[in-house]
């Protein structure tokens, strides 16, 4: 099952690359460098989804005390941090030629960076506690607090300052993007989502085996 997921993710990533480089048009002002968007945007979407999964799994753990829910939260947080890091890295690579700087304290950059450190803290907390049950309980509380904090961080940082282009897809009204670009983005999103599922499935399996070996 996991293996099928892995192959599906690999195929989808290939299709995504094809869409990004062959099908989607070359952007007029930025040139080829703009194609990094097909990695940048899907990875941040997947990262946000991953943290929503952490939130839901944390609540589920606190309500039911099912170890499976805890493993899901743990795995999803790890993969979410990975994709957040990927977002920041690709954003930097994209920002250097277009904005002229690797990093700027713009609103959206800042809020993604805050997200990154918040969930790195989550993983640190897990690492610092030896008893599995207590680690799960504390991490679940932190998972809930962190997720409820995301909208607060988002709005506070937005009011603070913004330079980033406004969202092109997730906004009211008709999309400003040509449909072919939207299609390429969605294919890549699907590929990244499959990759996320594959990683999480692998990690959950590993965590379960670790738990059994430790018990």
């Amino acid at each position: 099952m996991t293996r099928v997921l892995g192959w599906l993710a690999a195929l989808a990533l290939l299709a995504g690359l094809g869409m990004a480089f062959a099908v989607a048009p070359r952007e007029a002002t930025q040139g080829t460098v703009q194609r990094i968007m097909y990695v940048h945007v899907p990875s941040v979407w997947v990262a946000y989804c991953a943290f929503v999964v952490v939130f839901v799994a944390s609540i589920a753990y606190l309500a039911t005390r099912a170890e499976a829910a805890d493993r899901l939260a743990h795995a999803s947080a790890e993969v979410g941090v990975l994709f957040t890091g990927l977002t920041i890295a690709t954003g930097s690579i994209w920002g250097k030629p277009t904005w002229g700087t690797w990093w700027t304290w713009d609103a959206r950059l800042t809020s993604v960076a805050v997200l990154f450190v918040m969930y790195v803290g989550y993983l640190l907390l897990r690492g610092m506690i030896d008893e599995g049950e207590r680690a799960a309980r504390y991490a679940a509380v932190l998972g809930v607090v962190a997720a409820l904090n995301i909208p607060l961080v988002h709005f506070s940082v937005l009011w603070w300052r913004t330079l980033h282009q406004p969202p092109s897809l997730m906004k009211p009204g008709p999309s400003s993007m040509p449909p072919v670009i939207v299609r390429a983005l969605l294919v890549n999103f699907a590929a990244f989502a499959l990759l996320y599922l594959y990683f999480v499935a692998k990690r959950i399996r590993l965590l379960r085996l670790e738990g059994e070996a430790g018990a």
């Binding site: 907390l125 509380v141 409820l148 506070s156």
Partner: protein, 214 residues
């Protein structure tokens, strides 16, 4: 009503111990004074540069003092082995959270008032015209910081490397408050701070129970 009385007994206990021992308060007062030295040395004698940086430094002082003070929320219980005693108190555990939070807010406001006074004297700032606005932002900001701080202090009390982990967990979560405090005088920031306070307190009330099981 019983809930309020339970919470009050925690406040009363903490503040009484603090009043008699003055452990945290004395150390924090001295720490605040030392902060002024550090700020002054870091920025040099240039009066204008100092004046431009002062609002940020003021909040930095509050946050640093807050990190130290809030991290000690459950030190008394841990060092004196009273943790079980606290947990065994009958009834709703979130009353303990409310009590600890109220005691923390009181202590922090005293320390912040002191920092404010020190700033006014040593950096020669006239605070009188801004005082009401400042007080409002200080209260809202402190409640937000303490609401998460109290929760995380309970979380890190029994964990390895707690002195390190506490600020590492607290600072990123506090970004809305950190951004809101220096800008607090502007209308919608007050709303944001208030919203953050409500969300943090409600989350704390709902999740505190889970931290006390053992």
């Amino acid at each position: 009503m019983i809930f309020a009385r339970r919470a009050w007994s925690v406040v009363w206990k903490d503040l009484l111990v603090e009043r008699r021992s003055k452990e945290t308060l004395n150390a924090l007062a001295f720490f605040s004074l030392l902060l002024l030295f550090v700020f002054q040395f870091a920025l040099g004698p240039d009066r204008e540069r100092l004046a431009a940086a002062l609002p940020g430094l003021l909040w930095l002082g509050f946050v640093l003092a807050g990190l130290l003070g809030l991290g000690r929320t459950f030190v008394l219980e841990r060092e004196n082995d009273c943790w079980e005693g606290l947990i065994l108190a009958p009834g709703d555990k979130s009353a303990i959270y409310v009590g600890k939070l109220a005691a923390n807010v009181t202590l922090m406001l005293v320390v912040e008032g002191l920092i404010l006074l020190l700033f006014a004297v040593f950096f020669n700032v006239d605070l009188a015209p801004a005082l009401t606005g400042l007080a409002l932002v200080m209260i809202l900001g402190t409640v937000g910081l303490a609401a998460v701080g109290t929760l995380f202090a309970a979380m890190t009390a029994q964990v390895r490397a707690r002195e390190l982990l506490f600020p590492v967990l607290l600072l990123p979560v506090q970004v809305p408050v950190l951004l809101g405090e220096p800008l607090g005088a502007v209308g919608h920031w007050l709303g944001l701070l208030a919203a953050a306070d409500v969300i943090y307190i409600v989350t704390g009330l709902l999740t505190f129970d889970f931290l006390l099981e053992s």
